[in-house]
Symmetry: C2
């Protein structure tokens, strides 16, 4: 496949590029009126996510409307626990909710593993349609949740500030916890490989709840499984975004992956020093900056770009774009990245 | 005042002590059935907080029941915005809610500053009663919110995952933001001084929402105001607990205060290296550990104590104790600290 714009792939691989590529986490979503128009006609999030033609359509929207340098397949990290046997619900304006959750060994034993990837045919189909429609304009990103984050939802059963039930299981029953994490990892690798076989050009792992673990727990229950995934994915560049895992930046830098995502709390120079020069960094503008004026957005974006420097950087926010952000403010961010001129000394 | 147990004060001042002192953030609260018995008879949290004899009673409970080495006055950081003119409500099982909030200069101008401390007589009275009842058994901790955290509630009007309105004001109108932060700081200093004059033996500043700011915003909008408070409080030792401000540990170590609180995400050795040897450290067991078995609690507590070493450490959790923690598990934590024998090499 010949790309018209493969900036993000070249930068992920550490190659020099003519400018910094840019995309946004949650770019396919509520920030776009065009998305809301499609969403309104449907029964809910899940109908959209499980209908390949519609998922492909909203995946393409930000490429057309915001001119970002990558598409990311419209889906959710929770399709994995669902494929393993725990259906989730996504009630409007609330977080996800699992009627059945994991409490004990028999729950873990009842999960589907080898057959799970087959349940996700609708994602692969959406990727295939999207790739066809993209016709090489920009690369397509596939994704999955990190095993710890998926574990957190499977045990807690819903979002939580503390995920105290999930953390309790880590402390109280490490053996059971590792068994469950192992199963999630197996499914995740198979799932990502199928996404890649269907056309994903880069994959990103979201460890959304990294930041609620202690450094010791993160080392024991999250990093080893992310590492397994990184080792298994050799086909395309891999990005790890571990929200809040400031304490693990050194170890993240040692993973067998291409790119590390930073959240907006992470100082850019310090992160580069901790992670080392072998990785591309992604991020990390505070999403709240997009609530301010066009001139402020431009100023903060330029400031961020100068700190990262003109190579090994994929511009993004430090978190998913907030759904009530104005579309024109998002465009302002994208344009500011594209128009930026680095000083010659950088 | 002669104390029977002044361990926490000696350790805060960097003196050697016979063992590590221990208390818990939120120790006066729902974890104690004795607290719930009092609370049930009242109209709500505010009646308890504003009735000095009752506030004193629940402040003393953990000293009697849990044998902690310090009492902390039962109150809330939100009494400060209320004294300044923004009444708050505390609906059951929801977070705090401000019917009126700060949007613009005229809102900021309408706030009480010099008269605000006078509104908080009920806190000083509760401190006086508590001190009398304690009769020197253990020291009493006073507290206030850090100016940024109080600002966040005043502008947002309620708790929030992102505090995006508050952060938007920082980005969009730094002048107005500094004016408001200045006013909060003035009131906070006067309030803490009155707490000390009423009998508080140590004061703690809670910067609960430190962790949602970028390092740049934290340097501009939070640290300078905490620094002013530290410089102003010369009467008693001061503790700063900036939840999530991992990126500011070096600067926190330079404050004119005695103790820095760590949350459970912060690696102990790394934090000591960043903060330096001049401060006492407080914390930082993961509150979720108290959901596990007695033997796990003991093991994790001992492990934490060994990492901090046998001086310049006040044992605590890395966050407030979760309200559904069993009382006996909390006692187990307290006892594990008190019984710990450090290896001679430490």
């Amino acid at each position: 496949m010949k790309f018209k714009n493969d900036l993000i792939l070249r930068v992920a691989r550490g190659e020099k590029a003519e400018r910094t590529p840019v995309w946004l986490m949650r770019q396919a979503g509520r920030i776009l009126p065009e998305y809301r128009a499609i969403r309104e006609k449907l029964s809910g999030f899940k109908e959209l996510a499980t209908t390949p033609s519609l998922a492909a359509e909203v995946t393409l929207q930000p490429v057309d409307i915001l001119n970002v340098d990558a598409a990311i397949i419209f889906s959710d990290i929770l399709v994995v626990p669902e494929a393993m046997g725990l259906t989730y619900e996504m009630p409007e304006a609330k977080g996800p909710w699992f009627p059945k959750k994991i409490n004990n060994l028999s729950d873990v034993n009842s999960l589907r593993v080898l057959e799970a990837e087959l349940e996700l045919e609708y994602v692969y189909e959406a990727i295939k349609i999207t790739k066809k429609e993209l016709a090489g304009r920009v690369p397509l990103i596939g994704f999955a949740g990190a095993p710890w984050t998926i574990f957190a939802y499977m045990v807690e059963g819903h979002g939580s500030k503390t995920f105290s039930n999930a953390k309790k299981m880590l402390y109280s029953d490490p053996t059971l916890s590792h068994l469950l994490l192992e199963k999630i990892t197996t499914v995740t690798i198979a799932y990502l490989k199928k996404q890649i076989a269907s056309g994903a050009d880069l994959v990103q792992i979201f460890d959304s709840w990294a930041g609620i673990l202690s450094p010791e727990q993160y080392n024991e229950f999250s990093l080893p499984y992310i590492s397994k995934i990184c080792d298994a994915i050799t086909e395309v560049p891999t990005t790890i975004f571990a929200k809040g895992a400031f304490f693990a930046r050194k170890q993240l830098g040692l993973l067998n992956c291409e790119t590390i995502g930073l959240d907006w709390n992470m100082d850019i120079e310090e992160s580069r020093a901790l992670i080392g020069n072998k990785k591309t960094l992604q991020g990390n503008l505070d999403p709240c900056v997009l609530y301010t004026s066009f001139s402020e957005i431009k100023k903060h974006t330029q400031n961020m770009l100068n700190k990262f420097g003109n190579h090994q950087h994929i511009a993004n926010l430090g978190h998913g774009v907030y759904p009530d952000t104005e579309k024109d403010k998002v465009r302002c961010f994208v344009d500011a990245v594209k128009e930026h001129q680095f000083a010659l000394v950088v």
